[in-house]
Symmetry: C2
């Protein structure tokens, strides 16, 4: 897949391909949430997207942009889970083969879901030092598969940008034209796509990437003005977004368009998950709750009468979620 | 509030008053759910409605239909919780006083939420034999408040009917014009309102009320052709829908328009809650999950290539939900 410069035209073309396939997710709110945050909070509920995360959008966008020849041989992806499920379902719906390279210690629900969605899962040993990029690249070459990068791919970014087009429209319906849009950020695919869409369609709304405190490579990169890797192992509560550094394609977009990054603690993420459960009736995975946590607990660091938080995913093990609820 | 015959004109007038206030809730689906059910299942996610249940619609509809004089003195409602929250928020948004009569043993979250939404809560002692209707009636007379019945009220039924208008439109978008619409049923306000809306706007869709097995008064009433009370105490897992009998206004509508009632066990309800969590990322309370349970576990009793289940509410205590997840 390519690195053509992403622009609003590509995002709108992608949104047209997604029409009738991706779900237009609602913008949720609650007076109880507003009271905690001290301002109006709107939550873009991408956990309700097909496969339980926004990743389905980028996956569909990338696959639907493939040449006929590439469609015939199929796709491969490496992913901590949500991108994998998105690729698996979008490939199945296109009737093409998909191979997914996943760490052997990924949450069980994500591995099982990916297999049930019809993809072939190849597990690699993360603690043993194997690199998913190397494993994925080798299989791609051997079988002639097209590798779909989880974030550093123009068509993936364009697909995630469709979230931004929806936010522009839904925020206008709610009378919100200025404010911060908080985005859970791993490699920056969603943040960069949404930032480009908002630049064109709602210039008063500004993306603020949000990460876990100890893995805030995007925040640090934005401060430094160049890509900085956090250097930590890619494990932790917020498994879906623990990429080591922003992407080569995504970072220049983030640097040009985003406000300063934010970071939240694991305890704040768990509290945000409980509040989403109680007040929005929405299941969020830890990595999908960091932006909502920042909306709730960083009132002095975000601007505007209203903030929008993208709740990016809800793929969390049942027992893990039960434990987090019971702690509250 | 009155007992004027409810018709499609009243439902459409109510929907216009609700426009911009009630949330248009999404119709969710999952290939995993379809596989369990053995057919296509669409879930109308009313747990995402303001206050966490469809009851907000009926409450807003009834309050917005009051005379200026009645608005000045305010409203009173008796409710196991969801109607109470709907009335409290709608009254607050109209700037009028609301008194809510609730059983002292109602889930804590519902009592606390109702108070936070600005209503005055009067508790009565259910096990001690007090009748909420008597308590509510006395206070209404003393203070000149308008009593809003939770289901046996034309404007409440008309408000709930707006769910049916949305289903008619959303089902058509999904290419579904024939099939059963499974509705969690207490006193029958939602079932009757949706049935009237579908009769006019999607005559191929037929309401099937769903209840807990041991409290299936609506199912029995439909069989008998007259109102039959279940005679059990109004306590149990599915607290939101444990009314003793269908209403005087709702039953004739149910009898004319609905297919046979269905009933599900508590174990099936809990499994349905876990599946909604895992596959739809949606928090459902037990009483809000009975229709989804019937969609999953009564394949031989429902008809059509697709069924629609209304997931009516998500107001469940965090620790109770955690226990149900942990049992799975």
């Amino acid at each position: 897949m390519g690195g053509d410069a992403v622009n609003i035209g590509m995002i709108e073309a992608s949104a047209r391909r997604l029409d009738g396939h991706a779900r237009v997710t609602p913008l949720l709110s609650s007076p109880f949430v507003d009271e905690i945050a001290g301002r109006r909070v709107l939550v873009k509920a991408e956990a309700l997207q097909h496969t339980g995360s926004f990743k389905y959008r980028g996956a569909w966008s990338a696959i639907s942009a493939l040449s006929d020849n590439a469609l015939k041989t199929g796709v491969i992806a490496y992913s901590s889970g949500n991108h994998a499920q998105g690729i698996a379902l979008a490939a199945k719906q296109h009737g093409i083969p998909a191979v997914i390279v996943m760490p052997a210690d990924a949450p069980e629900v994500k591995i099982a879901n990916t297999r049930t969605l019809g993809a072939e899962v190849v597990l690699y040993d993360r603690p043993g030092g194997e690199d998913r990029r190397v494993v994925g690249g080798r299989i791609a070459r051997e079988r002639g598969l097209t590798l779909v990068n989880p974030y550093d791919d123009s068509q993936v970014i364009a697909g995630q940008g469709s979230v931004g087009l929806e936010i522009a429209e839904q925020a206008a319906d709610e009378g919100v034209s200025e404010g911060d849009v908080l985005v859970c950020c791993g490699g920056g695919g969603l943040s960069s796509g949404v930032a480009l869409a908002l630049e064109a369609r709602a210039p008063g709304l500004r993306v603020r990437p949000v990460e876990p405190e100890m893995q805030d490579d995007v925040r640090q990169s934005l401060v430094a003005g160049r890509i900085v890797a956090h250097g930590k192992p890619e494990v932790g509560l917020c498994d879906a977004i623990l990429t080591p550094a922003p992407g080569q394609i995504t970072f220049p977009i983030l640097h040009r368009l985003c406000g300063p990054g934010l970071a939240v603690s694991d305890a704040e993420v768990k509290t945000a998950m409980r509040i989403a459960f109680e007040r929005l009736k929405l299941v969020l995975e830890p990595g999908g709750a960091v932006a909502f946590a920042a909306a709730l607990f960083r009132p002095d660091q975000v601007g505007g009468d209203a903030v929008i938080a993208i709740a990016t995913g809800g793929n969390v093990d049942m027992k893990a979620f039960a434990r987090i609820l019971a702690e509250g």
